[in-house]
């Protein structure tokens, strides 16, 4: 039965390829080749190594490490944790994504002030942020784990629904929503292909390769940054780091990507 289904899928894929114009196909192949080269030369592992050190580093008023941080699978359990985020956390009564949960651990375990811990969430090439290193380390522990974000909890479900509404919310001087760019398959801005993000076909691969190292500016970027910079380009006001709105949007995209083996931290152009 499984074999039969596979062959049916293959036949459908072959048809789709046959129907696509040859020129576009070559272009796509070339871009994929380039992306493979990028991945082979990627320094993401260096960020994972730095992140591992930061995870174990004792700091803050309590002089504690983050080793007991509970990312949803129990204190200190990292394997597969990112593949289940965002999720509802009973201890805070909130749905949290990776970054907001990491900050929560800095505050509760290390005794740090929230403002201090979030003072510099986005770094640059010369000085990446603590969260960028930590995110690289934590997500690397979910490599190969299937994304399985649950909406069983009512608050998680509500976050998903809110995220879906936010995705389609058109506003700002240029009338954009996320869907303006990510609501149709096969489009691009300049030479950059735009993933369709409200359907699994586009969301799965894209979501599974964030956070990511960007070769063009030598920076490790988190998903919170990805959303922040999208809203900047949409000409919106700035989304507040770790806010419910950003977590909800992440929730919507993560659930849409469910089932995809996580494959980050990724490498982007």
């Amino acid at each position: 039965m499984l074999a039969l289904r596979t062959s049916a899928v293959l036949a459908a894929a072959a048809l789709a390829i046959a129907a696509a114009p040859v020129h576009a196909q070559d272009e796509k192949k070339e871009i994929e080749k380039y992306q493979k080269m990028l991945a082979e030369g990627s320094p993401v592992e260096l960020f994972e190594l730095e992140g591992a050190d930061l995870w174990k580093k004792k700091q803050g008023p309590k002089n504690e490490s983050l080793e007991k941080c509970d990312l949803g699978m129990g204190p200190g359990v990292l394997k597969g944790a990112y593949a289940h985020l965002p999720r509802y956390f009973a201890d805070t009564g909130r749905v949290m994504d990776l970054e907001s949960r990491l900050v929560h651990c800095m505050v509760t375990l290390q005794g740090r002030d929230y403002k201090e811990a979030t003072k510099r969430v986005f770094g640059n090439a010369d000085k990446p942020s603590e969260l960028e290193y930590l995110a690289a380390y934590v997500v690397g522990k979910s490599r190969g784990v299937k994304i399985a974000v649950s909406t069983r909890n009512p608050k998680a479900k509500a976050a998903y629904e809110l995220g879906r509404q936010l995705f389609h919310y058109r506003a700002g001087p240029w009338d954009f929503s996320c869907a303006s760019c990510h609501g149709v398959a096969g489009k691009r801005i300049r030479m950059q292909s735009l993933p369709l993000l409200d359907k699994p076909s586009g969301a799965r691969r894209t979501y599974a390769t964030w956070p990511a190292y960007r070769v063009s500016n030598s920076q490790m970027k988190t998903f919170q940054w990805r959303l922040n910079d999208c809203y900047r380009q949409m000409r919106f006001p700035e989304p507040t780091f770790g806010s419910d709105a950003t977590v909800a949007l992440t929730m919507f995209l993560a659930v849409t990507a469910n089932g995809e083996p996580y494959d980050g931290p990724g490498t982007k152009r």
Partner: protein, 204 residues
């Protein structure tokens, strides 16, 4: 007793909601807007009123860009009335300056000052000059556009379309560059020239 009557009331509400569209189970746009006011903050020129929707944005959001025909006519007419055509009746500016505006994807973000780096971002979505290979595909190709929109009628159309795209296609993804004060009258004339001037690379 009290809890029972509440139940009955809720039951009635649920039936009414079910009879309506499934979408009513979602948070309403007013709730979404309230969330945005709480979870976003003003930065530079990107003020909080930017998350408040006008009637076009609202209708396009709730209908997922498929507005009902009976609303389209009246609302496009209202948008058309927003367009301020040049007082001198001249729609064509300097295509060379227009080329720069068409290539620039900058302006209006929280990192820029008001009026700074005014760009039209045209190449983000459209093919224009056949020589520029880096173009987006969200909008149609505008290569050799002078052939598509000839004469003074074409000039007026292009000027108006850049000024307020929603007057011609209510839920288009294209911004309203004049109505939103993203581009000045001169900027729009220059981009119009870039699209229609026979000497512009778009028409070569």
């Amino acid at each position: 007793m009290k809890s029972k009557s509440v139940h009955l009331l809720l039951g009635g509400l649920a039936a009414a909601l079910l009879a309506a569209q499934l979408a009513y189970a979602d948070p309403t746009l007013l709730e979404v807007r309230a969330v945005m006011h709480r979870d976003f903050h003003a930065r530079g020129q990107a003020v909080m009123s930017r998350v408040d929707q006008d009637d076009v944005q609202y209708l396009c959001t709730i209908t997922r860009d498929k507005p009902p025909a009976h609303r389209v006519k009246e609302m496009e007419a209202a948008q058309l009335a927003m367009i301020r055509y040049p007082a001198d009746g001249n729609y064509i500016g300097d295509w060379k300056r227009g080329a720069k505006i068409a290539s620039s994807g900058k302006g209006m973000t929280w990192k820029e000052k008001p009026g700074q780096n005014r760009g039209g971002g045209c190449y983000n979505c459209h093919q224009l000059s056949p020589k520029q290979e880096s173009y987006g595909t969200i909008g149609p190709s505008l290569k050799h556009y002078a052939k598509v929109r000839p004469g003074i009628e074409g000039q007026k159309y292009v000027y108006g379309k850049i000024y307020d795209s929603k007057a011609f296609n209510l839920c288009t993804q294209m911004p309203r560059f004049g109505t939103s004060h993203s581009l000045t009258e001169q900027d729009i004339k220059d981009v119009t020239a870039y699209l229609l001037d026979p000497a512009s690379p778009v028409n070569q």
